[in-house]
């Protein structure tokens, strides 16, 4: 099965299907091949102005140009397939399914590798054992279901995305629940990163070039995913597409990649596959402090037009910051929480432990019928399938909210921002973050009272299954606020929150806002102007 699959067949299938789709679109008059190729040329030329195309790409782009000039249908088709093959080989790159047995790489603990890369003697001396790591990572939620479903079908793990650490954390978590084989895509820019690139090259990651905006490339990328899924290889998708800038849980998802699950499911049914099931697992990763928090919130708070879709100069490329983050992780009592939500089918229904789709009352339904055509056979239907995927997206976001592990830093920062919003008298986020209240400090007793109140609401919501609270929230408000202050201050300098006597000073309001946002979208008492807004469109 998976072991006998080699990268070449996946690559080849992705290229063929993309080529076939393009030719089919040309036949139905949706888009002529000239247009498809022109789109590729246009984007290639734009990119060439920034960095020259490599030889292989330059060659296929030349073919495409000549094919357009020749107007010869056969040459147009050939150039289209050639481009698809080029894209597919680029995406596949270092990916090798035989090598993606993450376990062998993770056995000594990925963080110890990370640490050697940062060459921090003190940490090396302490030594990082597997047990340390196990203690630092709490895995909860539908763990048993995930393990069972991985045996009966193909999983797509869809985590919240806050940090580049997520790939490593989720990979490790999946491995610990017994899923050693999976694939995921990572931005091409990350491969150039001195720390992350090291892992990515060895973990069986395929490459996503987010600078390539041409439709044919996106089609090939999509088909690459589909090809891995139809071969039963579980995938990790970050459905938000990029790290959350505001710190909030994703409110909008990228549906293109998400839709590959449904497409693979339909293809499985058409091929009468023995394991047609595709299960989507909304997963949350919660950190007390986030490695790249400063860069991310800074990017969020820039003028709309200036914020970036790709950031390549953040904390993850600064070894000292990574080391400080790891030190914080090891020295604080807090842990990283990974929670698997209940698995979903590609239509957004929950599935039971046997992988059968259920309606909201738990009644088992036959999900295959969603995709049958009038003749009773499964069929792809892009307009219909887009809508199904939208419904899946809504269900994933619900799963995120239900499984979000609330930590002391989130709760404390929420209480502080609530107080700041009320007492600054401002109605505008930016003005509030710069208000005098920030320097004058806030009444500590008031913050405690707010924290206590919010704690009550959060416990109620937890009872109702609307969110998760970490055990760190079991104490009283005093302990929670103190823990948050300590953790934030250990990693971030200057300390974002500082208590002196009966005052609490906000030294880094933007960071406090960032951690507060993890509790946005729950209808907790807070003025509307504090609510983070989703970013519009694909920005670079």
């Amino acid at each position: 099965m998976a072991d006998s699959i080699d990268e070449l067949t996946i690559r080849r299938e992705a290229a063929h299907r993309s080529g076939d789709e393009s030719v089919a679109r040309a036949r139905t008059g949706e888009e002529a091949l000239e247009e498809t190729l022109n789109d590729c040329l246009y984007h290639a030329e734009r990119r060439a102005r920034v960095r020259p195309l490599d030889d292989a790409e330059a060659r296929v782009v030349d073919w495409a140009r000549e094919a357009i000039q020749s107007r010869d249908p056969a040459r147009l088709e050939a150039a289209t397939y050639a481009l698809c093959e080029h894209y597919a080989s680029e995406i596949g790159g270092d990916f090798n399914p035989r090598m993606f047995a993450l376990a062998s790489w993770l056995a000594p603990g990925f963080l110890s590798l990370l640490l050697s890369a940062t060459s921090l003697p003190r940490l090396l001396l302490e030594g990082l054992k597997r047990e340390d790591l196990d203690r630092r990572l709490v895995i909860g939620g539908a763990v048993d279901q995930v393990a069972r479903l991985a045996r009966t079908g193909t999983l797509i793990c869809t985590p919240t995305h806050a940090s580049h650490m997520d790939s490593l954390v989720i990979g490790y978590a999946l491995q610990r629940v017994g899923i050693a084989r999976f694939v995921y895509g990572a931005g091409k820019n990350l491969f150039a990163n001195p720390i992350l690139g090291f892992f990515l090259k060895h973990l069986g990651t395929y490459k996503v070039d987010r600078l390539k905006a041409e439709q044919l490339y996106k089609r090939t990328l999509k088909n690459y995913c589909v090809a891995t899924l139809t071969r039963g290889l579980s995938n990790i998708f970050f459905p938000g597409g990029t790290r959350s800038r505001s710190g909030a849980i994703e409110q909008e998802l990228k549906l293109g990649l998400l839709g590959t699950g449904l497409e693979a499911y339909i293809l499985n049914l058409k091929a009468h596959s023995e394991r047609p099931g595709l299960f989507i697992v909304p997963t949350t990763i919660s950190y007390h402090v986030v490695l790249e928090a400063e860069t991310l919130i800074d990017d969020y708070l820039r003028d709309e037009g200036q914020s970036r879709y790709i950031i390549d100069d953040d904390e993850v490329s600064r070894p000292a910051r990574v080391a400080q983050f790891v030190t914080t992780l090891l020295n604080m009592e807090g842990q990283i929480h990974v929670r698997f939500g209940r698995a979903l089918d590609p239509f957004g229904n929950t599935v039971d432990d046997e992988g059968r789709s259920c309606d909201p009352h738990g009644r088992v339904i036959d999900a295959r019928r969603y995709v049958v055509g009038t003749d009773g056979h499964p069929v792809l239907d892009p307009a219909r399938d887009r809508q199904y995927t939208r419904e899946l997206g809504t269900a994933i976001i619900e799963g995120f909210h239900r499984n979000n592990a609330v930590l002391p830093t989130h709760l404390t920062c929420f209480a502080i921002m609530q107080a700041l919003a009320e007492q600054s008298g401002e109605r505008d986020l930016y003005r509030m973050l710069r208000s005098r209240r920030v320097t004058d400090g806030l009444d500590a007793a008031d913050i405690m009272a707010r924290t206590e109140r919010l704690l009550g609401v959060i416990r109620q919501k937890r009872q109702a299954g609307q969110l998760e609270a970490s055990p760190d929230l079991d104490g009283d408000a005093d302990r929670i606020v103190a823990a948050a202050e300590r953790t934030l201050g250990f990693y971030h300098a200057p300390p974002p929150v500082e208590r002196r006597g009966d005052r609490i000073y906000v030294r880094q309001p933007a960071l406090v806002y960032y951690y507060r946002n993890r509790l946005a979208g729950y209808g907790l008492d807070s003025p509307a102007f504090l609510e983070p807004r989703p970013r519009k469109g694909n920005r670079r």
């Binding site: 229904n349 309606d359 909201p360 009352h361 009644r363 339904i365 969603y370 239907d381």
Partner: protein
């Protein structure tokens, strides 16, 4: 016109609109199974081809098969039309969820909201069932006129093109047109909220306040409806279409409209309970007014006409005083760009 086997259709709900839709579908060539709870009505339709209580002496198409068995009605249907009163919607939909299959198409024609939550029916469907191929049908459709074969049109909204296509095929006839929309929530709210304004319109006519007043009520009414609908995610232009302004115009002018007749009764100073008893049918607008008033207050949507009418319905205010209060409010900008929610 429609070759191949006839379309299998289930119509759930034996009121006047359900009966009308069943008749329309049958006339357009469909095979209709017509479900209702009332055993006597099933027998009446089977034996006499009439539903006297709701559609009088109109002879219903022979291909309509009445039944009390929901599962049997839904089995094998390509299209399921749900046309029950909004108060019964959740229970019927939950039952439907237990028998419907994932490839069956469900379109509801319920012009009302759920008590307490204020949700539209599509939201209830999502909460109760695994149905995905869902649509809503709404528009200026007075049942007796349609049964008489007079020309009319409606809107079917869905996120799924297939739903719209099948509903169009099932209902379109020489004197009935079906327009498409993809703004489900907009079409649902247009149909539900216009009933509020219809009651108010009946009251204004009953008081003899004239045509200017009625036009004023209708245009400010649609502004208020749009404000609420956009707040809930609807597109503004949907409210200018058949399911919005279109439906409002007809319900505010037609003496057929039950909600309008409620308003007339209120203007005569009669008690709501007496009016409803005499009507003998559900007037959705009464429920909707109370629900929308509560939700709008909770969510901060400005709806002065709805709020005033709710107080009249609860006998906190008489109609004359309500009109006086509405007229005495400070006038503000009529149109403020695309923004319908005043700050």
């Amino acid at each position: 016109m429609n070759p191949g086997p006839p379309l299998e259709i289930a119509v759930l709900g034996g009121g006047s609109w359900g009966t009308t839709l069943a008749h329309l579908c049958a006339q357009a060539g469909g095979r209709v199974r017509f479900w209702m709870r009332d055993h006597d009505t099933v027998r009446e339709i089977r034996e006499h081809r009439t539903n006297g209580r709701y559609t009088g002496p109109v002879a219903l198409a022979p291909s309509i098969e009445p039944t009390n068995d929901l599962a049997a009605a839904v089995l094998g249907a390509r299209l399921v039309l749900v046309v029950v009163p909004s108060a019964a919607a959740r229970a019927v939909i939950r039952e439907l969820g237990g028998v419907v299959l994932a490839d069956q198409i469900v379109v509801h024609a319920i012009k009302g909201l759920e008590e307490g939550t204020g949700w539209t029916v599509s939201r209830v469907v999502r909460e109760e069932t695994a149905i995905r191929k869902l649509g809503v049908l709404s528009g200026p459709n007075i049942a007796p006129e349609i049964l008489a074969g007079l020309p009319a049109a409606t809107v079917v909204a869905s996120d799924y093109p297939e739903v719209i296509g099948v509903a169009q095929g099932a209902l379109t006839g020489p004197s009935f047109r079906v327009y498409a929309n993809d703004d489900v929530i907009g079409v649902e709210l247009g149909g539900a909220l216009k009933n509020i304004i219809a009651i108010a319109s009946g009251a204004i006519t009953g008081l003899g306040l004239g045509e200017n007043a009625r036009s004023l009520l209708m245009t400010r009414g649609v502004a208020e409806i749009a404000r609420f609908a956009v707040h809930r995610g609807a597109r503004l232009l949907t409210l200018a279409g058949l399911a919005g302004m279109g439906d409002l115009v007809v319900t505010c002018a037609s003496t057929h409209s039950r909600n309008y007749r409620v308003g007339l009764g209120l203007a005569e100073g009669r008690l709501l309970g007496d009016i409803l008893r005499e009507l003998g049918m559900v007037a959705e607008g009464v429920r909707t007014t109370r629900i929308v008033r509560t939700v709008a207050e909770r969510e901060g949507v400005y709806m002065p006409i709805t709020a005033a009418l709710a107080r009249v319905l609860d006998a906190e205010l008489d109609v004359q005083s309500a009109v006086a209060e509405l007229m005495a409010r400070p006038a503000r900008a009529e149109v403020d760009g695309d923004r319908v929610v005043p700050r």
